[in-house]
Amino acid sequence: MSDQIDGGLRSELQRQGIWVTSMEELYNWGRKNSIWPLQFGLACCAIEMIATAASRYDIARFGGEVFRPSPRQADLMIVAGTVTKKMAPQIVRLYNQMPDPKYVISMGACAISGGPFKQGYNVLKGIDRYIPVDVYIPGCPPRPEALLHAFMELQRKIDSQKLTGNAKAEHLDPMQPSEFPVPAFGAHDLEPAANPRLFQPPKIERS
């Protein structure tokens, strides 16, 4: 809701058939109701993602049914499944190919932190080491309802983004990067191990 317009005046005008809104509200309303996800599954969670798109859970009710196979046409990347160290560079590359504004949902325990496979030598311990994540969904795999909830949270986030002023959305700030360096295989592991701009290992404080 725009703060500039008085609520009473607004509803009075609406009764007369006049709908008053702000540019920001209209723009965000349009954006949040037609999020096109990237059709891209990694592992088990992808099946729940397909189930969410199927008729029973029907993500089309929220305007997210247009799964695009090309990152160039997608707004949202649902990282659904275990990210291995072989796959991580491709995911960052796909993210870089998406046009701004772009959002990321990290679906499932594996995409958040490596999940049950965290001890594996080939499993990335969370995709947020390389790309910024907007919504995390825990679960192994999360239920379709959880994905819908994450989708609604994302819509709420998009709705609250400002177009002007100091607190404007990140993608409108030319100083904010929209592409991130793609990790490569070094001598032992992926290098760099994380993007320091996005991820710092948690500091454990001992008293």
Binding site: A43, I47, A51, S55, M87, Q90, G120, N122
Partner: protein, 383 residues
């Protein structure tokens, strides 16, 4: 094989006035590769002259983790092997541990296992047909129909085990919880209604000219090559080889049920597709018999020590007929709490080895249909 070798035209092509071969990388992000599978394809125009699969994009160290986890601790990991069929994965693993330690399974548990395995087969084959048709361009409808049926079966799994996909239901020496009478009633209703869906779906498949044109005579596999390459499951039976581990091994209580093993004739994509449809009919038959015969009683062998479980020194290979083929677990025990060696024989990985032979000489659009008809799940291929 390096790029220059790949780009060598085959001898038959040299007389034509062709240009260069084109190398295309399909995947790992591709709508039809069923996960993160990648193929390097060399194309002459539209024809595939070379195909090289690239694996490992979902290698999650399953076997290494299995060797570092207790026997019980590996059970949830088996759910995530072939994430469509967690129940059959559980069964195969439980069967090998039972063989290793010589554990008896109560009668009711064996029946429950058969029921759940056949339900898994139904939902796996239904979703496969949906995916296969959507790879052919029937975008949406068949997959929606398949998932509508799948959701009903997943509801059954959920009310029994607490999870839709990752059931973690079976234990060495039985099953975790018993299915109540209301569960059995619901399952009966769903199984009774399933043939209706099958008839509807088969009408869509059988009479559709596009499906017939796209699948018949595409990706032909000879029985000889299938046997030599170690194919199992519907892939092998589509070539006309009568080999079903439910009949051959007679594990569980399968010898008690009357069912036929459908066999193909040509070994092409159409036969493989039909094999799934026909197997679903047989599964419905097995389910009806099992639900009729299931006795009352315990579902867990009380003598089995689940925690700090230490099987005797030895090795065992347990295998079942999973929806995709022979799923086996090979375990070596050194008497400790963890297996010394834990090896999975994944059906979809071994069925995938003939992919190049199937695809050569077909167009690039057929590659997707052939790959879809192999029925792979990347969690199992890469492990």
């Amino acid at each position: 094989m390096n790029t220059t070798e790949m780009l060598q035209p085959p001898p038959a092509m040299t007389s034509r006035l062709d240009g260069e071969l084109m190398e295309v990388s399909m995947g790992p992000q591709h709508p039809s590769t069923h996960g993160v599978f990648r193929m390097n394809v060399a194309l002459d125009g539209e024809m595939v002259v070379k195909l090289k699969p690239v694996f490992g994009y979902l290698h999650r160290n399953h076997e290494k983790i299995g060797e570092n986890t207790s026997y019980l601790g590996s059970m949830p990991y088996t759910d995530r092997l072939d994430y469509f069929c967690s129940m059959t994965n559980n069964w195969a693993y439980a069967l090998s541990v039972e063989k290793l330690a010589g554990i008896e399974v109560p009668e009711r548990a064996e029946y429950l296992r058969v029921i759940l395995a056949e339900l898994t087969r139904l939902q796996n084959h239904a979703s496969l047909l949906g995916f296969l048709l959507s790879d052919m361009g029937a975008w949406g409808t068949p997959l929606m129909y398949a998932f509508r049926e799948r959701e009903k079966i997943l509801d059954l799994f959920e009310s029994l085990s607490g999870s839709r996909m990752m059931c973690d239901y079976m234990r060495f020496g039985g099953c975790r919880v018993d299915a109540g009478p209301d569960w059995m009633e619901r399952a009966k209703k769903i199984v009774d209604l399933f043939p209706k869906f099958l008839d509807e779906f088969e009408k869509l498949i059988l009479s559709n000219e596009i499906v017939i044109m796209r699948t018949q005579e595409v990706g032909k596999l000879s029985a000889e090559l299938a046997i030599n390459a170690g194919m199992t499951g519907p892939m092998l039976r589509a070539c006309g080889v009568n080999y079903d581990i439910r009949k051959v091994d007679g594990y569980g209580f399968y010898p008690r049920f009357k069912f036929r093993v459908p066999l193909g004739e040509h070994g092409d994509c159409y036969d493989r597709l039909m094999m799934r449809a026909l197997e679903m009919h047989e599964s419905v038959g097995i389910l009806k018999q099992a639900m009729e015969q299931i006795p009352a009683g315990p579902v867990m062998n009380p003598k089995v020590k689940i925690r700090a479980f230490r099987p005797p020194v030895g090795e065992a290979y347990g295998r079942i007929e999973g929806p995709k083929g022979e799923l086996g677990f090979y375990l070596i025990s050194d008497g400790g709490t963890n297996p010394y060696r834990y090896r999975v024989r994944p059906p979809s990985f071994i069925n995938l080895t003939v992919l190049e032979d199937l695809c050569l000489g077909h167009t690039v659009a057929d590659v997707m249909v052939i790959l879809g008809s192999v029925d792979i799940v990347l969690g199992e291929v890469d492990r």
